[in-house]
Symmetry: C2
């Protein structure tokens, strides 16, 4: 019904499958656009500029900060990470729902600028399953897994800040649930002001 896109912020435990979910949403439905972050960290093997990240020099990144060209940014472990504004605003104006993955501090910064943004949190069905998925990757040491679970415990404290929580048990079910939640959000009166005004005008004239 509504024609302006929704900004969708996806957070969740590392290992909950956010990346795969977002990829499936974009593949399955035309109306989603995936926002790609900018970073100053070096590309890892297999990563491509403009696919996983826009890889920038520190100088380029700081120019973007100065130009207010990032919706939000943060520094982790000596590297900058941020969300380029231009892509997000262009896609929203074109009526596409823009999805971006970010942790809670970034999510709350985005809500301040875009009060209509939809904040979604992705969880596993249990902590045990989270550990299993983190171990299953086979690439992490026990120590790294423990650190991630500890971090997940901290992230869990912020869940009430989100509009919705989804449990990624079965991938396809979860993709469908995310899509339904976003679909539902398009039906809020605040996102249908044009239609409501049209109805009012017509009914008055009737």
């Amino acid at each position: 019904m509504s024609h302006k896109g929704i900004l969708i912020v996806v957070s969740g435990f590392s290992g909950a499958g956010k990346g795969t979910l977002m990829k499936r949403l974009v593949e399955e439905y035309d109306r989603y656009a995936l926002s790609i972050s900018a970073t100053t960290r070096a590309p890892r093997p297999g990563e491509e500029d403009g696919r996983e990240y826009f890889f920038l020099s520190r100088e380029q990144f700081e120019r973007k900060i100065a130009d207010n060209a990032l919706i939000e940014y943060a520094e982790y472990c000596g590297n900058y990470y941020g969300t380029p504004r231009e892509y997000v605003e262009k896609e929203l104006a074109d009526g596409r729902d823009v999805i971006l993955e970010i942790e809670i501090q970034g999510a709350l910064k985005i809500r301040k600028q875009y009060p209509d943004a939809l904040l979604l949190f992705v969880s596993t069905p249990s902590a045990k399953e989270l550990r299993r998925r983190l171990s299953g990757r086979g690439t992490e040491t026990e120590e790294v897994i423990d650190r991630r679970l500890h971090r997940a415990a901290q992230e869990a404290e912020g869940i009430e800040e989100y509009d919705y929580i989804v449990v990624n048990d079965d991938l396809e079910t979860c993709v469908r649930e995310l899509h339904e939640i976003i679909d539902a959000a398009h039906h809020a009166p605040g996102r249908n002001e044009e239609f409501i005004e049209k109805m009012r005008r017509e009914l008055e004239e009737n």
Copy 2:
């Protein structure tokens, strides 16, 4: 995910198809329960006690008011109409989503008592289509149709009080949209406190 039912209030223009939509929801999905209003007006031909309404005497109705046995009630054209509390609360406790049809004043009264209630507004795609449907019934005079359209214009003023607006253009699409909106509401963190606490406990222990 959540186990407590949601109280769903459906309002909308007379002629927008609320009754049919609610009937289809209940037929198609087990988890919906339809709340039936009580009234002191006389049954019309074909109406059955406990199906369209619970038909009560004025005395019986006023006893229910005195006993706080109605969630809300109002008087129109000399007759009482109200929502029996017992059925609603029993079904919600059993985890069923209870749907009830009511106009805006009643909807706002219900929200005061049940702040978690979901308020849905059903519209036709246009005022012209509303007139067409009201005329199509063939049972109303032009005067009655004009009065209903005038009333619709008043009702349209309150749409922003609702959580969601749906347009009943194609019936099956609209049933699916209503179901999706209700499904989405089950994913609000406030409706999943038990799950969130469980995750937190497990992550702390991990």
